[in-house]
């Protein structure tokens, strides 16, 4: 029987008194993330799956592509949709089929961060204007919920998008040939920038702020501020949905902390991608296929 498991009053009181003494339950610094593990499971020819683990939270993102007709009012752009489902696998509190608040917020935030900000260049997905384009579909699965789903999902989605290769196409006049993965090497997606989400939870009306809350910390917090930005310092979205009022200055400090974290996440993604590239290219094929000559 799914029912929101509220923490006991003892736990809530203890958490708050610990935070007031500057101690987090797992002894992290207030702005420290739990250990993040980013991997790209799948065979050597399968691109576009990313699994993120932040502490015990696990999120899987998968990208797939197919050829469809574009929307009538956007003839020159491809289609990009994000589907996000919270199933009971992630937490016994989630119900199957019913779209509850947290799921809607999660998908809206991901859409704002990645779709609205134009992280993925949809014009590059167009094949023949008005009749054929690529439909890139991102599926997010929450495997384990231990707090901070937002950041984990965004990280997984961006990493998967950067990892994914779509089939190559060739156009001869009116004819379009979509090559299979085995016929021609697939092509990466054109990403204009890489946005990441950083969620800040606050307590005591803004006096105590911390990043990367665990499930217990999330249940006891006064409110949260979700900031999405890329490493250039461009803020893609800020969301503070009600919650106890916080003064404006603290929000700006949040943004500064978020920038540091985003730079850290960005580096993490780039390093993981490079390591994965090497792993898949174990036979040294890339070096062989390269046309560079030693001089």
């Amino acid at each position: 029987m799914p029912r929101e498991a509220e923490p006991s009053t003892n736990e809530q009181a203890f958490l708050l008194s610990a935070l007031r003494e500057n101690i987090r339950l797992d002894s992290r610094a207030f702005d420290a993330f739990r250990p993040i593990d980013l991997s790209f499971p799948g065979g050597p020819d399968e691109y576009g799956t990313a699994e993120v683990r932040i502490g015990k939270t696990r999120v899987l993102a998968k990208i797939s592509a197919e050829v469809v007709a574009p929307y009538a009012d956007r003839k020159f752009e491809g289609v990009f949709t994000i589907a996000c489902e919270l199933s009971p696998m992630g937490s016994a509190a989630f119900e199957v089929g019913r779209q509850d608040q947290s799921e809607i917020l999660l998908s809206r935030l991901l859409e704002k961060t990645i779709r609205r900000s134009g992280a993925l260049d949809t014009e590059s997905l167009c094949i023949v204007a008005g009749s054929k384009c690529f439909h890139i579909r991102a599926d997010i699965h929450v495997l384990d919920h231990d707090g901070n789903l937002m950041d984990a999902s965004c990280l997984a989605l961006v990493a998967a998008l950067m990892h994914f290769r779509r089939p190559d196409v060739e156009i001869h006049g009116e004819e379009v040939t979509v090559f299979d993965v085995r016929e021609r090497d697939p092509v990466r997606l054109a990403m204009q920038h890489q946005p990441f989400c950083v969620t800040t939870s606050y307590y005591d009306g803004g006096a105590i702020m911390l990043q990367d809350a665990t499930l217990l910390e999330e249940q006891c917090r006064d409110g949260e501020i979700v900031i999405s930005m890329n490493r250039f310092g461009e803020v893609c979205s800020i969301a503070k949905y009600g919650g106890t009022p916080v003064d404006g200055l603290s929000m700006l400090t949040c943004t500064n902390v978020a920038l540091e974290k985003v730079k850290m996440l960005d580096k993490l993604v780039k390093d993981s991608l490079a390591a994965d590239e090497k792993r898949r290219d174990a036979g040294g094929l890339m070096a062989e296929l390269s046309a560079e000559n030693d001089r």
């Binding site: 917020l105 900000s117 930005m229 461009e234 916080v246």
Partner: protein
């Protein structure tokens, strides 16, 4: 439709003749519907919202739902098909609308004294008759008025407005001026955010931004927004007091 940005400097005027820090014409009335417990009609320029409040009333789906000892705030927004430039029938399950509903209900859940009404629901219904920018801000203001009319105790008004930045059109740093209270056309082109304050001048209760902007511009935008909210709060206060005076006078005479 691209904006003609050459006219947008600090000294000059915007498309509708306002300067950078001027609000649009704001008009509000309380107690417009007798059938509801509380109602209001709010205009922010051409954005017109009707709001009705029913509550606190018994939980509709009670029985076994012994939840926390607080009232629940439920919000429903209906956007009329004729409200925008093109006639569009908005489905109620639109995620954007659901997000707005959640924002409003979450903002008031923390401002209203919900612990006074355990196990009950406060239902807020918003109808958008015309939208020309600042939709979320106008909804929040309309809700505040309607809730005051319904007599539900709250800790303070929630006053909201939008601010934008000329950043995308500015060549130099100092030309990226913040703008107050954007209309529909400006919202489509410029980065903007909606900010709502409650309980003090600098206390931000709601902050939603969906467009890309440089971090450095944020400070200016937020401070202009807070100032705008202060003005809106005094306007809302004026509306409430004027209505109260009218009611008292009609009772006395």
């Amino acid at each position: 439709m691209p904006l003609d940005s050459s006219i947008y400097t600090l000294s000059a005027l915007r498309l509708d003749g306002r300067r950078w820090n001027e609000l649009r014409r704001i008009n509000g009335q309380i107690s417009t519907q007798q059938a509801a417990d509380g109602s209001s009609y709010f205009e922010m320029g051409n954005t017109k919202i009707v709001c009705t409040v029913n509550g606190p009333q018994e939980q509709k789906r009670g029985g076994g739902r012994d939840q926390s000892n607080e009232a629940k705030v439920e919000v429903e927004i209906g956007i009329a098909g004729f409200s925008g430039v093109d006639r569009k029938r908005r489905m109620r399950n639109d995620k954007r609308i659901q997000e707005m509903q959640y924002t409003i209900s979450s903002a008031f859940q923390n401002t209203l004294f919900t612990h006074l009404y355990p196990h009950s629901t406060i239902a807020i219904n918003l109808h958008v008759l015309s939208q020309d920018g600042s939709l979320l801000a106008a909804c929040l203001n309309a809700c505040t008025l309607a809730l005051i009319d319904a007599g539900i105790p709250m800790s303070d008004y929630i006053a909201a407005c939008t601010t934008g930045s000329m950043a995308s059109y500015a060549d130099k740093e100092d030309e990226a001026d913040p703008l107050l209270d954007l209309n529909g056309l400006e919202e489509q082109e410029l980065p903007f955010l909606t900010v709502g304050t409650s309980g003090g001048e600098d206390k931000v209760s709601v902050l939603i931004m969906e467009t890309r902007v440089q971090m450095a511009r944020l400070e200016a935008m937020i401070s202009v927004g807070l100032d705008g909210c202060k003005q809106i709060r005094s306007i809302l206060d004026g509306i409430v007091r004027a209505h109260g005076k009218k009611v008292l006078e009609s009772k006395v005479s």
